[in-house]
Symmetry: C2
């Protein structure tokens, strides 16, 4: 499968690297094609790896991951040809966090409570199927659920298209070792509000227990 | 111990009933002393139960629980004599939720992201030790942690006074069957922002799994 990964940070690199190892063709997209981190990643990668700008990566992928900082994600999407996103699944890993006011972090102005980054991304790319997921776990765990408690913990999904959510679930099971019965559908893309809003809590738990390698398991 | 319980809803009744069974003297407080639910509760209870208005319950308790709806909690506190709260522990179970806009619920205007109900309660009662906890679980689980997964799941605390948090932890272990190593300190009362903000997410999980009798277990 051809997959775009927009973003060159820890999350983008972890996802891109995991996917080329699985045999997918991955194009990592950044603002400028000669982005140092992207160039460095490609040098260290196998021949399934390529790089480009955001528009290249979106165009290349049959689907693509959004792994951008919350404060630049919407701006980055403006450089994409919207026609290149028609009918494509977009896995939205972003969080609209604002760390500038200390702890706990806040949601960026206008992107909390009555709105979310997931919804804004869906509005920006109306012909794509945005699925919000993976945003509630550390990047190492995203690409290998077994890193924590043998994979026995939960991941949350939301998005407007049930078929797209189903495909993403299968994708995460097949590629990142998530357990299919541990993937919880929380509704339409407006549920991004609630799923993004738990991330400040996640940050406090990380501080309290001293490791980012943890997750929430729903127990009954 | 003499304990006040402010609020006559499911949460207040569950807590008050559990405490009189443990032998504590409990005064349930409501806006008016002849509140039907409070009168009914006292009739069904043992002689450790008494009722009064909010001020009576706060004055009676060596500590007290705040079990009010988020949209009336601050108003209710205005009827309390602030001198009656000096040096007392207040266990704040409130959530500033607004269900008037559909799902997911929102945080009440002015009480999300850069503020919280926990912080406002501490500001309203500056000489009391406010400890935010229990607000992330169903009322049946609050008073008996073993109702879910044998008690193997987590509860979160925040508050400005370490000694008060410690006393509340012991209280919950002794009275409500919480496990001491499953009680996570998330910092000062400003962490209420993050702890209150996960409740809309809790509501979506409840909808998805079909029961309010669940909790989050932190797994590493």
């Amino acid at each position: 499968m051809n997959i775009g990964v927009l973003g060159t940070g820890q999350v983008g690199e972890a996802i891109a690297s995991a996917l080329i190892k699985k045999g997918h063709n991955v194009r990592m997209g950044s603002r400028t094609v000669n982005n140092e981190k992207a160039v460095d990643w490609m040098k260290r990668s196998n021949d399934h790896a390529s790089i480009g700008n955001f528009a290249d990566a979106a165009s290349f992928g049959d689907m693509f991951f959004l792994c951008l900082n919350g404060n630049v994600a919407l701006d980055a999407l403006r450089s994409i040809d919207i026609e290149d996103t028609r009918g494509k699944i977009i896995i939205d890993v972003t969080n609209p966090l604002d760390f500038t006011h200390g702890m706990p972090p806040r949601m960026l102005e206008g992107l909390g409570n009555s709105n979310s980054l997931g919804e804004e991304i869906q509005k920006a790319l109306p012909d794509a199927y945005v699925v919000k997921t993976l945003n509630t776990v550390n990047f190492k765990l995203m690409v290998d659920a077994r890193q924590v408690n043998g994979g026995d913990h939960h991941l949350f999904f939301c998005g407007n298209n049930p078929d797209a959510k189903n495909k993403v679930k299968h994708f995460l099971v097949d590629n990142f070792n998530w357990r299919s019965d541990h993937l919880l559908d929380l509704g339409g893309i407006e549920s991004s509000r609630a799923v993004e809003a738990i991330v400040p809590f996640w940050v406090l738990v990380q501080q309290s227990i001293g490791t980012p390698l943890f997750n929430f398991k729903i127990v009954k």
